[in-house]
Amino acid sequence: MADTLTIRTAGITTVQDLGRVGRARYGLPANGAADQHSPRVANVLCGNDERAPLLEITALDFACIPSGDILVAVTGAPADVTVEGVIRPQWEPVSVRAGETIRVTGIRQGLRVYLAVLGSFEAEYLQGSCAPDTILGFGPTLRDGDQLALRTGCPPIDHPYSRIPLFRLHAPAPRFPTATAWTIDVTDGPDRAEFGDTAARLFGGPFTVSPQSNHIGLRLRGDVPRRVSQGEVLSRGVPIGAVEIPAGDELLVLHRGRGVTAGYPVLAVVTATALSTLGQVRPGHTIRFRHRTVDQAVNAYRAERNAIDLLRTRVRTTFEALDIPVPDAG
Protein backbone atom coordinates (compact mmCIF):
# COMPACT_ATOMS: atom_id res chain seq x y z
CA MET A 1 0.00 0.00 0.00
CA ALA A 2 1.21 3.46 -0.82
CA ASP A 3 2.32 5.70 1.99
CA THR A 4 0.01 8.46 3.10
CA LEU A 5 0.14 11.87 4.65
CA THR A 6 -2.43 12.06 7.45
CA ILE A 7 -3.81 15.50 8.25
CA ARG A 8 -3.95 15.95 12.04
CA THR A 9 -4.82 19.65 12.29
CA ALA A 10 -6.33 20.82 9.02
CA GLY A 11 -6.90 24.51 9.77
CA ILE A 12 -7.83 26.02 6.41
CA THR A 13 -5.86 23.90 3.98
CA THR A 14 -6.49 22.84 0.40
CA VAL A 15 -4.72 20.73 -2.17
CA GLN A 16 -3.58 23.32 -4.65
CA ASP A 17 -1.51 23.84 -7.78
CA LEU A 18 -0.67 26.74 -10.08
CA GLY A 19 -4.14 26.77 -11.60
CA ARG A 20 -6.42 25.76 -14.44
CA VAL A 21 -4.80 27.34 -17.47
CA GLY A 22 -6.15 27.38 -20.99
CA ARG A 23 -9.83 27.11 -20.02
CA ALA A 24 -10.66 30.81 -20.08
CA ARG A 25 -12.40 30.36 -23.43
CA TYR A 26 -14.86 28.07 -21.70
CA GLY A 27 -15.49 30.67 -19.05
CA LEU A 28 -13.42 28.96 -16.38
CA PRO A 29 -11.16 31.07 -14.16
CA ALA A 30 -7.55 30.03 -13.55
CA ASN A 31 -7.69 29.80 -9.76
CA GLY A 32 -4.63 28.06 -8.27
CA ALA A 33 -2.29 29.25 -5.55
CA ALA A 34 -2.94 32.87 -4.62
CA ASP A 35 0.81 33.37 -4.24
CA GLN A 36 2.35 31.68 -7.29
CA HIS A 37 5.99 32.24 -6.41
CA SER A 38 6.07 30.38 -3.08
CA PRO A 39 4.52 27.11 -4.34
CA ARG A 40 6.81 27.13 -7.37
CA VAL A 41 9.80 27.34 -5.04
CA ALA A 42 8.40 24.71 -2.66
CA ASN A 43 7.95 22.21 -5.49
CA VAL A 44 11.34 22.97 -7.02
CA LEU A 45 12.97 22.45 -3.60
CA CYS A 46 11.45 18.95 -3.61
CA GLY A 47 12.65 18.23 -7.13
CA ASN A 48 9.04 18.28 -8.35
CA ASP A 49 7.50 19.79 -11.44
CA GLU A 50 6.50 23.26 -10.29
CA ARG A 51 2.86 22.47 -11.20
CA ALA A 52 2.67 19.44 -8.89
CA PRO A 53 -0.08 19.39 -6.25
CA LEU A 54 0.93 20.75 -2.84
CA LEU A 55 -0.79 22.11 0.25
CA GLU A 56 -1.90 25.71 0.62
CA ILE A 57 -2.24 26.46 4.35
CA THR A 58 -4.14 29.67 5.08
CA ALA A 59 -3.69 31.62 8.32
CA LEU A 60 -4.45 28.82 10.80
CA ASP A 61 -2.17 26.23 12.43
CA PHE A 62 -1.64 22.95 10.61
CA ALA A 63 -0.20 19.53 11.43
CA CYS A 64 0.32 16.29 9.49
CA ILE A 65 2.11 12.94 9.86
CA PRO A 66 3.56 10.88 6.99
CA SER A 67 3.38 7.08 7.17
CA GLY A 68 6.70 6.82 5.34
CA ASP A 69 9.95 8.75 5.14
CA ILE A 70 9.55 11.89 3.03
CA LEU A 71 11.23 15.13 2.04
CA VAL A 72 9.16 18.31 2.40
CA ALA A 73 9.66 22.01 1.71
CA VAL A 74 7.67 24.79 3.35
CA THR A 75 7.53 28.26 1.78
CA GLY A 76 5.25 31.29 1.82
CA ALA A 77 4.48 33.47 4.84
CA PRO A 78 6.81 33.30 7.86
CA ALA A 79 5.69 30.61 10.35
CA ASP A 80 7.08 28.22 12.93
CA VAL A 81 7.79 24.93 11.20
CA THR A 82 8.65 22.00 13.45
CA VAL A 83 9.27 18.29 12.98
CA GLU A 84 8.77 16.38 16.24
CA GLY A 85 8.96 19.72 18.02
CA VAL A 86 12.32 20.73 16.53
CA ILE A 87 12.31 23.97 14.53
CA ARG A 88 13.11 23.36 10.88
CA PRO A 89 13.84 25.98 8.22
CA GLN A 90 11.42 27.32 5.64
CA TRP A 91 12.61 27.69 2.04
CA GLU A 92 14.84 24.57 2.33
CA PRO A 93 14.11 20.85 1.92
CA VAL A 94 13.51 19.05 5.23
CA SER A 95 13.82 15.29 5.75
CA VAL A 96 10.98 13.78 7.79
CA ARG A 97 10.87 10.21 9.13
CA ALA A 98 7.79 8.02 9.10
CA GLY A 99 5.46 8.86 11.99
CA GLU A 100 7.01 12.22 12.82
CA THR A 101 4.66 15.18 13.24
CA ILE A 102 5.14 18.18 10.96
CA ARG A 103 3.62 21.36 12.40
CA VAL A 104 3.13 24.76 10.81
CA THR A 105 2.05 27.27 13.45
CA GLY A 106 2.02 31.00 14.04
CA ILE A 107 1.63 32.07 10.42
CA ARG A 108 2.44 35.79 10.48
CA GLN A 109 3.09 38.86 8.33
CA GLY A 110 1.62 37.06 5.35
CA LEU A 111 -1.42 34.80 4.97
CA ARG A 112 -0.50 31.62 3.13
CA VAL A 113 2.07 28.88 3.62
CA TYR A 114 2.87 26.21 1.02
CA LEU A 115 3.97 22.69 1.86
CA ALA A 116 5.31 20.48 -0.92
CA VAL A 117 6.35 16.83 -0.66
CA LEU A 118 8.97 15.16 -2.84
CA GLY A 119 7.03 13.24 -5.49
CA SER A 120 3.81 15.09 -4.54
CA PHE A 121 0.62 13.17 -3.77
CA GLU A 122 -2.50 11.95 -5.53
CA ALA A 123 -5.12 14.59 -6.20
CA GLU A 124 -8.43 14.87 -7.99
CA TYR A 125 -8.25 16.83 -11.23
CA LEU A 126 -10.84 18.95 -13.04
CA GLN A 127 -10.04 20.38 -16.47
CA GLY A 128 -6.33 19.80 -16.06
CA SER A 129 -5.84 21.10 -12.52
CA CYS A 130 -6.46 20.15 -8.91
CA ALA A 131 -6.95 23.81 -7.93
CA PRO A 132 -10.18 24.34 -5.99
CA ASP A 133 -12.90 26.34 -7.75
CA THR A 134 -15.34 27.60 -5.13
CA ILE A 135 -17.93 28.65 -7.72
CA LEU A 136 -17.98 25.17 -9.31
CA GLY A 137 -17.82 23.60 -5.85
CA PHE A 138 -14.70 21.66 -6.77
CA GLY A 139 -11.83 20.87 -4.39
CA PRO A 140 -12.69 20.29 -0.76
CA THR A 141 -11.02 21.97 2.19
CA LEU A 142 -9.11 19.27 4.06
CA ARG A 143 -10.42 17.96 7.38
CA ASP A 144 -8.70 16.46 10.40
CA GLY A 145 -8.05 12.79 9.70
CA ASP A 146 -7.96 13.07 5.90
CA GLN A 147 -5.28 11.02 4.22
CA LEU A 148 -3.42 11.98 1.06
CA ALA A 149 -1.76 9.18 -0.92
CA LEU A 150 1.92 9.93 -1.44
CA ARG A 151 3.26 9.13 -4.89
CA THR A 152 6.77 8.29 -3.71
CA GLY A 153 8.93 8.23 -0.62
CA CYS A 154 12.36 9.55 0.17
CA PRO A 155 14.85 7.67 2.33
CA PRO A 156 15.93 9.63 5.41
CA ILE A 157 18.79 12.01 4.84
CA ASP A 158 20.96 12.00 7.91
CA HIS A 159 23.44 14.61 8.92
CA PRO A 160 26.05 13.79 11.56
CA TYR A 161 25.50 17.12 13.26
CA SER A 162 21.84 17.83 13.87
CA ARG A 163 20.90 21.51 14.07
CA ILE A 164 23.25 22.26 11.19
CA PRO A 165 21.02 22.81 8.17
CA LEU A 166 21.45 19.97 5.72
CA PHE A 167 20.75 22.10 2.71
CA ARG A 168 21.87 25.60 1.83
CA LEU A 169 20.10 26.04 -1.47
CA HIS A 170 19.47 29.78 -1.13
CA ALA A 171 15.95 29.63 -2.50
CA PRO A 172 14.64 33.03 -3.63
CA ALA A 173 12.46 34.00 -0.66
CA PRO A 174 10.52 37.25 -0.90
CA ARG A 175 10.75 39.77 1.92
CA PHE A 176 7.62 40.04 4.02
CA PRO A 177 6.96 43.46 5.54
CA THR A 178 7.22 43.53 9.33
CA ALA A 179 4.63 46.31 9.47
CA THR A 180 1.27 45.65 7.89
CA ALA A 181 2.01 47.95 4.95
CA TRP A 182 2.60 46.49 1.51
CA THR A 183 3.73 47.97 -1.79
CA ILE A 184 1.87 46.61 -4.81
CA ASP A 185 3.18 47.32 -8.32
CA VAL A 186 0.70 48.10 -11.10
CA THR A 187 0.85 49.13 -14.73
CA ASP A 188 -1.67 51.38 -16.46
CA GLY A 189 -4.90 49.64 -17.37
CA PRO A 190 -6.50 49.87 -20.82
CA ASP A 191 -9.28 52.17 -19.55
CA ARG A 192 -7.20 54.56 -17.43
CA ALA A 193 -8.46 57.54 -19.45
CA GLU A 194 -12.02 56.89 -18.25
CA PHE A 195 -10.99 58.07 -14.79
CA GLY A 196 -9.59 61.44 -15.85
CA ASP A 197 -7.51 63.27 -13.25
CA THR A 198 -8.87 61.08 -10.45
CA ALA A 199 -6.78 58.13 -11.73
CA ALA A 200 -3.80 59.59 -9.83
CA ARG A 201 -5.59 58.90 -6.53
CA LEU A 202 -4.54 55.28 -6.94
CA PHE A 203 -1.00 56.35 -6.07
CA GLY A 204 -2.04 58.77 -3.32
CA GLY A 205 -3.06 57.51 0.07
CA PRO A 206 -2.97 53.97 1.39
CA PHE A 207 -5.82 51.51 0.84
CA THR A 208 -7.09 49.14 3.50
CA VAL A 209 -7.90 45.53 2.62
CA SER A 210 -11.51 44.76 3.56
CA PRO A 211 -12.62 41.49 5.22
CA GLN A 212 -14.68 40.71 2.10
CA SER A 213 -11.47 39.83 0.27
CA ASN A 214 -10.60 36.38 -1.04
CA HIS A 215 -8.93 34.53 -3.90
CA ILE A 216 -11.56 35.87 -6.31
CA GLY A 217 -10.84 39.49 -5.54
CA LEU A 218 -9.63 41.92 -2.92
CA ARG A 219 -11.76 44.88 -1.88
CA LEU A 220 -9.83 47.95 -0.82
CA ARG A 221 -11.07 51.03 0.99
CA GLY A 222 -9.57 54.45 0.53
CA ASP A 223 -9.73 57.55 -1.64
CA VAL A 224 -10.90 55.77 -4.78
CA PRO A 225 -10.67 57.22 -8.29
CA ARG A 226 -13.96 58.00 -10.05
CA ARG A 227 -15.02 57.07 -13.52
CA VAL A 228 -15.71 60.28 -15.43
CA SER A 229 -17.07 58.74 -18.62
CA GLN A 230 -20.52 57.22 -18.82
CA GLY A 231 -22.09 54.64 -21.01
CA GLU A 232 -22.52 50.93 -21.47
CA VAL A 233 -19.56 48.61 -21.20
CA LEU A 234 -20.13 45.28 -22.94
CA SER A 235 -18.82 42.31 -20.97
CA ARG A 236 -15.29 41.45 -22.03
CA GLY A 237 -12.34 39.46 -20.81
CA VAL A 238 -10.51 40.97 -17.87
CA PRO A 239 -7.06 39.85 -16.76
CA ILE A 240 -6.10 38.57 -13.31
CA GLY A 241 -4.86 41.66 -11.49
CA ALA A 242 -7.37 44.06 -13.03
CA VAL A 243 -8.09 47.04 -10.76
CA GLU A 244 -11.76 47.97 -11.13
CA ILE A 245 -14.10 50.35 -9.39
CA PRO A 246 -17.56 48.77 -9.48
CA ALA A 247 -19.41 51.35 -7.40
CA GLY A 248 -19.27 53.03 -4.05
CA ASP A 249 -16.10 53.56 -2.09
CA GLU A 250 -14.16 50.42 -2.81
CA LEU A 251 -11.53 49.36 -5.29
CA LEU A 252 -11.73 45.80 -6.51
CA VAL A 253 -8.56 43.95 -7.46
CA LEU A 254 -9.37 40.75 -9.33
CA HIS A 255 -7.31 37.74 -8.29
CA ARG A 256 -6.90 34.21 -9.58
CA GLY A 257 -10.46 33.04 -8.99
CA ARG A 258 -11.94 35.96 -10.91
CA GLY A 259 -14.67 35.35 -13.45
CA VAL A 260 -13.14 35.71 -16.91
CA THR A 261 -15.55 38.43 -18.02
CA ALA A 262 -16.67 41.68 -16.44
CA GLY A 263 -18.21 44.94 -17.45
CA TYR A 264 -16.26 47.54 -15.47
CA PRO A 265 -13.46 49.71 -16.85
CA VAL A 266 -9.94 48.58 -15.91
CA LEU A 267 -7.98 51.40 -14.29
CA ALA A 268 -4.73 49.51 -13.68
CA VAL A 269 -3.37 45.97 -13.70
CA VAL A 270 -1.34 44.47 -10.85
CA THR A 271 1.98 43.08 -12.10
CA ALA A 272 2.68 39.34 -12.17
CA THR A 273 5.20 39.60 -9.32
CA ALA A 274 2.91 41.80 -7.21
CA LEU A 275 0.01 39.36 -7.66
CA SER A 276 1.98 36.82 -5.62
CA THR A 277 2.59 39.50 -3.00
CA LEU A 278 -1.12 40.33 -3.00
CA GLY A 279 -1.82 36.64 -2.40
CA GLN A 280 -0.17 37.11 1.00
CA VAL A 281 -1.93 40.31 2.12
CA ARG A 282 -4.33 39.95 5.04
CA PRO A 283 -7.63 41.75 5.61
CA GLY A 284 -6.91 44.88 7.66
CA HIS A 285 -3.47 45.35 6.12
CA THR A 286 -2.79 48.50 4.12
CA ILE A 287 -1.29 48.69 0.69
CA ARG A 288 0.15 51.43 -1.46
CA PHE A 289 0.22 51.13 -5.21
CA ARG A 290 3.41 51.88 -7.12
CA HIS A 291 3.37 52.68 -10.82
CA ARG A 292 5.54 50.58 -13.13
CA THR A 293 5.95 50.50 -16.88
CA VAL A 294 5.12 47.25 -18.65
CA ASP A 295 8.86 46.78 -19.37
CA GLN A 296 9.78 47.18 -15.71
CA ALA A 297 7.06 44.73 -14.72
CA VAL A 298 8.11 42.15 -17.31
CA ASN A 299 11.76 42.41 -16.28
CA ALA A 300 10.90 41.96 -12.60
CA TYR A 301 8.85 38.86 -13.39
CA ARG A 302 11.55 37.38 -15.60
CA ALA A 303 14.12 37.92 -12.84
CA GLU A 304 11.84 36.10 -10.40
CA ARG A 305 11.34 33.16 -12.74
CA ASN A 306 15.01 33.07 -13.65
CA ALA A 307 15.93 32.78 -9.96
CA ILE A 308 13.64 29.72 -9.77
CA ASP A 309 15.30 28.19 -12.84
CA LEU A 310 18.71 28.63 -11.20
CA LEU A 311 17.39 27.09 -8.00
CA ARG A 312 16.15 24.07 -9.96
CA THR A 313 19.69 23.50 -11.24
CA ARG A 314 21.15 23.73 -7.72
CA VAL A 315 18.52 21.31 -6.42
CA ARG A 316 19.29 18.80 -9.16
CA THR A 317 23.01 18.95 -8.44
CA THR A 318 22.48 18.60 -4.70
CA PHE A 319 20.00 15.73 -5.06
CA GLU A 320 22.44 13.87 -7.29
CA ALA A 321 25.25 14.38 -4.77
CA LEU A 322 23.09 13.13 -1.89
CA ASP A 323 21.56 10.31 -3.94
CA ILE A 324 18.03 11.64 -3.44
CA PRO A 325 15.59 10.11 -5.93
CA VAL A 326 14.35 12.76 -8.34
CA PRO A 327 10.60 12.43 -8.93
CA ASP A 328 9.30 11.85 -12.44
CA ALA A 329 8.52 15.04 -14.24
CA GLY A 330 4.84 15.89 -14.51
Partner: protein
Protein backbone atom coordinates in the same frame (compact mmCIF):
# COMPACT_ATOMS: atom_id res chain seq x y z
CA UNK B 1 -1.13 47.02 -39.96
CA UNK B 2 -4.81 46.57 -40.49
CA UNK B 3 -7.69 48.82 -39.69
CA UNK B 4 -10.05 46.27 -38.23
CA UNK B 5 -8.63 45.91 -34.69
CA UNK B 6 -6.97 47.98 -32.00
CA UNK B 7 -4.57 46.19 -29.65
CA UNK B 8 -3.86 47.54 -26.17
CA UNK B 9 -1.53 46.38 -23.38
CA UNK B 10 -3.48 44.97 -20.46
CA UNK B 11 -0.78 44.66 -17.82
CA UNK B 12 2.48 42.73 -18.07
CA UNK B 13 0.83 39.47 -19.10
CA UNK B 14 -2.08 40.30 -21.40
CA UNK B 15 -3.22 42.19 -24.48
CA UNK B 16 -6.74 43.15 -25.42
CA UNK B 17 -7.76 43.33 -29.08
CA UNK B 18 -10.92 45.18 -29.97
CA UNK B 19 -12.76 45.05 -33.28
CA UNK B 20 -13.41 48.55 -34.58
CA UNK B 21 -15.40 50.20 -37.35
CA UNK B 22 -17.87 47.42 -38.03
CA UNK B 23 -21.29 46.10 -37.10
CA UNK B 24 -21.69 44.12 -33.89
CA UNK B 25 -22.21 40.81 -35.72
CA UNK B 26 -19.08 41.29 -37.79
CA UNK B 27 -17.05 42.38 -34.74
CA UNK B 28 -18.15 39.24 -32.91
CA UNK B 29 -17.19 37.04 -35.86
CA UNK B 30 -13.81 38.74 -36.10
CA UNK B 31 -12.78 38.34 -32.46
CA UNK B 32 -13.89 34.71 -32.38
CA UNK B 33 -12.08 33.97 -35.64
CA UNK B 34 -9.02 35.60 -34.11
CA UNK B 35 -9.37 33.38 -31.03
CA UNK B 36 -9.62 30.30 -33.28
CA UNK B 37 -6.53 31.41 -35.18
CA UNK B 38 -4.57 31.91 -31.96
CA UNK B 39 -5.64 28.49 -30.70
CA UNK B 40 -4.55 26.97 -34.02
CA UNK B 41 -1.03 28.46 -33.99
CA UNK B 42 -0.52 27.42 -30.32
CA UNK B 43 1.83 30.28 -29.62
CA UNK B 44 4.36 29.48 -26.89
CA UNK B 45 3.50 31.14 -23.60
CA UNK B 46 -0.11 32.01 -24.47
CA UNK B 47 -2.41 30.34 -21.96
CA UNK B 48 -5.71 32.18 -22.02
CA UNK B 49 -7.89 33.47 -24.84
CA UNK B 50 -11.22 35.11 -24.02
CA UNK B 51 -13.28 36.23 -27.01
CA UNK B 52 -16.48 38.01 -26.03
CA UNK B 53 -18.72 40.39 -28.04
CA UNK B 54 -16.27 42.76 -29.70
CA UNK B 55 -13.08 42.13 -27.72
CA UNK B 56 -10.44 39.46 -27.29
CA UNK B 57 -8.28 39.13 -24.18
CA UNK B 58 -5.05 37.21 -24.68
CA UNK B 59 -3.23 36.16 -21.51
CA UNK B 60 0.33 34.89 -21.60
CA UNK B 61 3.35 34.08 -19.47
CA UNK B 62 5.59 37.09 -20.01
CA UNK B 63 8.60 34.99 -19.02
CA UNK B 64 7.83 32.73 -21.99
CA UNK B 65 6.84 35.27 -24.66
CA UNK B 66 6.38 39.02 -24.91
CA UNK B 67 3.84 41.65 -25.91
CA UNK B 68 5.48 42.33 -29.28
CA UNK B 69 5.42 38.68 -30.32
CA UNK B 70 1.77 38.21 -29.39
CA UNK B 71 0.85 41.57 -30.93
CA UNK B 72 2.57 40.65 -34.23
CA UNK B 73 0.70 37.34 -34.40
CA UNK B 74 -2.60 39.12 -33.68
CA UNK B 75 -1.97 41.70 -36.44
CA UNK B 76 -0.94 38.94 -38.84
CA UNK B 77 -4.00 36.81 -38.15
CA UNK B 78 -6.38 39.80 -38.14
CA UNK B 79 -5.11 40.81 -41.58
CA UNK B 80 -5.90 37.35 -42.94
CA UNK B 81 -9.49 37.41 -41.76
CA UNK B 82 -11.86 38.76 -44.39
CA UNK B 83 -15.52 39.53 -43.90
CA UNK B 84 -17.47 36.40 -44.72
CA UNK B 85 -14.39 34.17 -44.52
CA UNK B 86 -14.87 33.27 -40.89
CA UNK B 87 -15.68 29.75 -39.85
CA UNK B 88 -19.31 29.22 -39.08
CA UNK B 89 -19.98 26.26 -36.85
CA UNK B 90 -23.51 24.94 -37.29
CA UNK B 91 -25.72 26.75 -34.82
CA UNK B 92 -27.70 24.64 -32.41
CA UNK B 93 -30.85 25.66 -30.59
CA UNK B 94 -31.56 25.21 -26.89
CA UNK B 95 -35.04 25.55 -25.43
CA UNK B 96 -34.92 26.72 -21.82
CA UNK B 97 -37.98 26.54 -19.54
CA UNK B 98 -38.18 29.50 -17.16
CA UNK B 99 -40.37 30.35 -14.19
CA UNK B 100 -40.61 34.14 -14.34
CA UNK B 101 -41.09 36.55 -11.46
CA UNK B 102 -41.86 35.96 -7.79
CA UNK B 103 -39.11 34.28 -5.79
CA UNK B 104 -37.71 32.92 -9.08
CA UNK B 105 -37.16 36.34 -10.61
CA UNK B 106 -37.26 38.91 -7.82
CA UNK B 107 -36.17 41.83 -10.02
CA UNK B 108 -38.90 41.40 -12.66
CA UNK B 109 -41.11 44.20 -11.23
CA UNK B 110 -38.17 46.62 -10.99
CA UNK B 111 -36.95 45.84 -14.53
CA UNK B 112 -40.49 46.29 -15.87
CA UNK B 113 -40.77 49.65 -14.11
CA UNK B 114 -37.40 50.82 -15.46
CA UNK B 115 -38.37 49.84 -18.99
CA UNK B 116 -41.87 51.35 -18.67
CA UNK B 117 -43.44 47.98 -19.48
CA UNK B 118 -45.80 45.53 -17.81
CA UNK B 119 -44.18 42.42 -16.36
CA UNK B 120 -45.98 40.35 -18.99
CA UNK B 121 -44.46 42.51 -21.74
CA UNK B 122 -40.95 41.96 -20.31
CA UNK B 123 -41.59 38.20 -20.26
CA UNK B 124 -42.99 38.31 -23.81
CA UNK B 125 -39.87 40.13 -25.09
CA UNK B 126 -37.47 37.89 -23.17
CA UNK B 127 -39.10 34.68 -24.38
CA UNK B 128 -40.28 35.95 -27.74
CA UNK B 129 -37.16 35.48 -29.84
CA UNK B 130 -34.09 33.26 -30.16
CA UNK B 131 -31.14 34.87 -28.36
CA UNK B 132 -27.64 34.19 -29.69
CA UNK B 133 -24.89 33.01 -27.33
CA UNK B 134 -21.91 35.30 -27.90
CA UNK B 135 -19.44 33.85 -25.43
CA UNK B 136 -18.96 31.72 -22.34
CA UNK B 137 -18.24 34.03 -19.46
CA UNK B 138 -18.44 34.56 -15.74
CA UNK B 139 -19.48 32.83 -13.66
CA UNK B 140 -18.43 29.30 -14.55
CA UNK B 141 -18.94 29.28 -18.32
CA UNK B 142 -22.26 31.14 -18.22
CA UNK B 143 -23.89 31.55 -21.65
CA UNK B 144 -23.68 35.29 -22.41
CA UNK B 145 -26.26 36.29 -24.98
CA UNK B 146 -27.49 39.29 -26.86
CA UNK B 147 -30.21 40.81 -24.72
CA UNK B 148 -33.88 40.74 -25.70
CA UNK B 149 -35.34 43.61 -27.76
CA UNK B 150 -36.01 45.83 -24.75
CA UNK B 151 -36.57 49.53 -25.49
CA UNK B 152 -33.44 50.49 -23.57
CA UNK B 153 -30.53 48.96 -21.65
CA UNK B 154 -31.23 47.50 -18.19
CA UNK B 155 -29.12 49.00 -15.35
CA UNK B 156 -27.13 46.67 -13.12
CA UNK B 157 -28.19 46.38 -9.48
CA UNK B 158 -26.88 49.17 -7.25
CA UNK B 159 -25.93 46.55 -4.68
CA UNK B 160 -24.92 43.15 -6.11
CA UNK B 161 -26.30 40.02 -4.45
CA UNK B 162 -23.84 37.90 -2.50
CA UNK B 163 -25.55 34.76 -3.78
CA UNK B 164 -27.56 34.11 -6.93
CA UNK B 165 -29.28 30.72 -7.28
CA UNK B 166 -28.11 28.37 -10.05
CA UNK B 167 -30.29 28.56 -13.15
CA UNK B 168 -31.13 32.21 -12.54
CA UNK B 169 -32.00 34.02 -15.74
CA UNK B 170 -30.72 37.60 -15.75
CA UNK B 171 -30.32 40.64 -17.96
CA UNK B 172 -28.09 43.72 -17.84
CA UNK B 173 -27.27 46.42 -20.34
CA UNK B 174 -28.10 44.83 -23.67
CA UNK B 175 -27.04 41.38 -22.56
CA UNK B 176 -28.75 38.28 -21.18
CA UNK B 177 -27.30 35.37 -19.22
CA UNK B 178 -28.08 32.21 -17.27
CA UNK B 179 -26.12 31.79 -14.07
CA UNK B 180 -24.96 28.13 -14.00
CA UNK B 181 -23.77 27.90 -10.39
CA UNK B 182 -24.50 29.69 -7.12
CA UNK B 183 -22.37 32.83 -7.18
CA UNK B 184 -22.41 36.53 -6.38
CA UNK B 185 -24.06 38.66 -9.07
CA UNK B 186 -25.08 42.21 -9.92
CA UNK B 187 -27.48 41.49 -12.79
CA UNK B 188 -31.24 41.86 -12.29
CA UNK B 189 -32.97 38.46 -12.12
CA UNK B 190 -36.07 37.85 -14.27
CA UNK B 191 -36.63 34.17 -13.56
CA UNK B 192 -35.05 30.80 -13.03
CA UNK B 193 -34.75 27.59 -15.04
CA UNK B 194 -35.02 24.14 -13.44
CA UNK B 195 -32.66 22.57 -16.01
CA UNK B 196 -29.00 22.00 -15.18
CA UNK B 197 -26.80 24.33 -17.20
CA UNK B 198 -23.43 22.79 -16.41
CA UNK B 199 -22.11 19.29 -15.81
CA UNK B 200 -18.86 18.93 -13.84
CA UNK B 201 -18.37 15.44 -15.25
CA UNK B 202 -18.45 16.37 -18.92
CA UNK B 203 -15.73 18.01 -20.97
CA UNK B 204 -16.30 20.77 -21.88
CA UNK B 205 -18.51 21.47 -18.88
CA UNK B 206 -21.29 23.04 -20.94
CA UNK B 207 -23.24 21.78 -23.96
CA UNK B 208 -23.50 25.14 -25.74
CA UNK B 209 -20.93 27.22 -27.58
CA UNK B 210 -20.77 30.70 -29.06
CA UNK B 211 -23.15 31.00 -32.00
CA UNK B 212 -25.80 28.67 -30.57
CA UNK B 213 -29.21 30.13 -29.77
CA UNK B 214 -31.38 29.99 -26.67
CA UNK B 215 -35.16 30.28 -26.61
CA UNK B 216 -36.73 30.90 -23.22
CA UNK B 217 -40.17 29.38 -22.66
CA UNK B 218 -42.33 30.49 -19.71
CA UNK B 219 -43.50 27.71 -17.40
CA UNK B 220 -45.54 27.85 -14.19
CA UNK B 221 -44.02 27.22 -10.74
CA UNK B 222 -46.06 23.96 -10.67
CA UNK B 223 -44.14 22.73 -13.73
CA UNK B 224 -40.75 23.21 -12.01
CA UNK B 225 -40.76 19.60 -10.78
CA UNK B 226 -41.28 18.29 -14.32
CA UNK B 227 -37.52 18.75 -14.87
CA UNK B 228 -35.79 16.63 -12.20
CA UNK B 229 -32.04 16.58 -12.79
CA UNK B 230 -32.53 17.51 -16.45
CA UNK B 231 -29.43 18.70 -18.27
CA UNK B 232 -29.64 21.55 -20.75
CA UNK B 233 -29.56 19.91 -24.18
CA UNK B 234 -29.81 21.06 -27.77
CA UNK B 235 -33.05 20.39 -29.64
CA UNK B 236 -33.04 18.01 -32.53
CA UNK B 237 -34.51 19.01 -35.85
Amino acid sequence: MTGNVTITDCGDSALIAKAVGMEAEEAWRLVHALADALDAVQLTGVHGVVATYDALLVEFDCAGTDHDTVRRVLWHEAARIRPGSTRQAPSRRFVVPVVYGGEYGPDLPEVAAQLGLDESEVIALHSGADLTVRCLGAPAGAPMMDGPAFPRPVPRLASPRTRVDPGSVAVAGRQAVICPMPSPGGWPLLGRTPVRVLDLHSDPLTAYQPGDTFRFVPITPEQWDDYPDTPLAACHG
